[in-house]
Assembly symmetry: C2
Homo-oligomer: 421 residues x 2
């Protein structure tokens, strides 16, 4: 279960719910259907149990933006619980020579599988990286080609290339945008290879999706309505996540929120200054209490802060007794002022810090809401992913923007080509 | 050398320069003196060559906020160049049980050194963590205490504790704030232990500090003046850093900028809504071209974007020929549309992507500036650190805020204690 505390004004949810249903049935975005795609699930499960992978210790994902952020988010949240798989993951996202060198020095071809993920099939970073890898490791030779597989849009140039070369290639529907694709094969294949229970991930996702479409998650629309109505007063959306397990989920949220909602309202004239959008900021607590919090408390009052945390019980699920993390009853001479937390479980202390920060912001009339996961497992992360996606879609409806395109990123791509002309 | 392209209006720099000189001579902040502190340098160098460290393969830093972000920033930027040291670093920043377990499972006491860093000496996260480590590893026993050392403010409770226990303890001046402390022993000790050339780091820092005080870095004051003058029109300061090596530097910048400049103007009434501040956002290019860029291009026009990058030459300095990263002349059937970058060095492609993004934003009249490091080494990072610190101080002067305190973070700390009362 996920507990939502959403103290914004209740609104009539029907118009937004109807608009979302229309998006789903018209196919304006395909992400609504992903949790129900049992064929994709079966295909990812079957692939990850192939004999080839029994000798694979390292998975290298070549992909950027929506092709890597979702997998990063889910794996960072849950990877600690599937260490038995002992498979490592590396991400190659752009042509940074230092990062690429570091990854290459830590792998050997024999025990490595490369997964190229590009929706368009022509992402310049990803294709440049894979050209390098193909040359470096002779990946298209018949002996080595089983070490490379691809995920791309159905009908993309990459699909043609992969098929012609006899590479394994998975496709996803074109109407599933990169930032909404983590529950498609884009996320399911790598997450399954990393040992996560992708069935449970989709089950959680399905539960949230069904509940929303049944009109039982009105708090999502209430929150979207508050954010949309006050987008000029509160242009910054902060996600304050308590626990390092959420650090990559924050980055996924930043893309989802920023790229979906940051739009020119006219959509026709790119030089228009009539842009709308909510600027996402991802923070990790308690760490960022020592960084960004001062600005929230005393800076300009332009932020809405959503708190994300785990219930105190989450650390007890998988731990044996001897590994429980509790502040010991340890008295250090001179440091008695810190003894008040002695005996407190680590996670409980983290959660009390969240509570203290949340109540401080409330007392200052800074808008806040909170989300608490009862357990840290695939089911809950699946549901959480869909929660954020639906919140994004609802806010997009209420802001009057198309949440599913990204015309603004094309300008720079076109300009890049002119340098080579 | 660092090249700055700062196309903002030139201003009379004298008043700000005089204010900064007054801050330095009055001791309002002690960071201005750090690059000249040869005693600290010698002390860190001597410590890191002690016999004890010959068997140490893992350094665990217990510290949060200013106690870890600076070391993270410099090490992430330069760690690739000192791999010969082969010492690993881990950070324990808060009582996250999952993260703590992960770190503990990867180390053994015999080859690990723990470095506790807390300015106040009573940071609740850090002391809770060290209590756990003391209990878990029996760190105060005579056989083990050489594996723990401390860095704290001169005169803090932690200093008394450390001295009473016979632990090695370094102190820093109380007027050096955590977020301005990376060039003090807080950064010098761990960075030296990790194999970085801290002499060169301070030399670069000294060069920038001296040049600024000699009135030769007027572009810093021009930029500060633009940001302060337009802080309501452009409340968001984006640092768009090209290269994964800068990912942690971004986080350091976010703390420096947010915590220094986000202040209540009256400073007396914490519930005042008359806060000022510039919200910092750190992006990594080209990765975040696939994430946040859409929002900058088409969203609300409330951002100033500073680009940070490396010159094309940076990848050639330390690389042997066979390890040079260039997009190969590799033609993949069906993917010919990507061939225009064939033959381009990785870093040059990254820099051209930066250029294309920068020119796109310029063409849309979004305010931008750029910073290019000629080399990626200690000297340049030292100079860059001082650049950002001075920019923060100058902007603070022009906004009329005290850049060196953080009263807003105390409210939550006090509230936390009430839960245990």
């Amino acid at each position: 279960m996920i507990s939502f505390h959403t103290p914004y004004a209740k609104v009539d949810s029907s118009p937004v719910l109807e608009a979302i249903k229309a998006e789903s049935s018209s196919g304006a975005s395909g992400y609504y259907k992903l949790p129900f795609d049992t064929l994709a699930l079966e295909s990812a499960l079957a692939y990850s149990t192939r004999e080839h992978f029994s000798s694979i210790t390292d998975l290298v994902i070549i992909g950027v933006g929506g092709s890597s952020l979702g997998t990063r988010a889910v794996y960072a949240a849950l990877g600690h619980s599937c260490r038995s798989a002992t498979r490592r993951v590396h991400f190659l996202e752009h042509t940074d020579p230092f990062e690429t060198r570091r990854v290459l020095e830590s792998i050997t071809l024999k025990s490595t599988h490369f997964l190229l993920i590009s929706k368009s099939g022509t992402t310049i970073e990803s294709i440049s990286l894979v050209k390098f890898l193909i040359t470096h490791f002779d990946l298209l030779s018949s002996a080595n080609k089983q070490h490379l597989s691809c995920i791309t849009d159905s009908g993309s140039p990459l699909e043609s290339f992969a098929k012609a070369q006899g590479l394994e290639c998975f496709t996803i529907p074109a109407n599933v945008g990169g930032r909404f694709s983590v529950l498609s094969l884009v996320g399911l294949v790598p997450l399954s290879l990393l040992g996560l229970d992708i069935s449970a991930l989709l089950q959680g996702a399905r539960a949230m999706m069904e509940s929303f479409f049944a009109g039982k998650e009105g708090h999502i629309i209430d929150k979207a309505a508050f954010l949309a109505k006050h987008h000029k007063q509160y242009p910054i959306s902060v996600l304050f996540s308590y626990g390092s397990v959420f650090s990559e989920l924050n980055r996924w949220f930043v893309q989802l929120w920023g790229e979906s909602l940051g739009k020119s309202l006219s959509q026709a004239d790119s030089s228009s200054t009539q842009g709308v959008g909510l600027t996402p900021v991802g923070l990790v607590g308690s760490i960022d209490q020592h960084s960004f919090l001062q600005l929230i408390v005393q800076g300009a009052r332009d932020k809405v802060v959503s708190f994300l945390s785990l219930s105190d019980e989450c650390d007890k699920v998988d731990s044996s007794e001897d590994s429980s993390f509790i502040v010991p009853h340890c008295h250090l001479a001179g440091l008695e002022s810190t003894d008040f937390v002695n005996g407190t479980p680590f996670l409980r202390l983290l959660n009390l810090q969240k509570q203290a920060t949340l109540e401080t912001l409330e007392s200052l009339a800074i808008p806040t809401d909170s989300i608490v996961l009862e357990r840290l497992d695939e089911w809950h992360i699946g549901a959480l992913v869909v929660y954020f996606e639906l919140l994004t879609s609802c806010t997009g409806v209420l802001l009057g923007v198309n949440a599913y395109d990204q015309p603004g990123v094309e300008f720079g791509k076109r300009r890049l080509r002119t340098y080579f002309a």
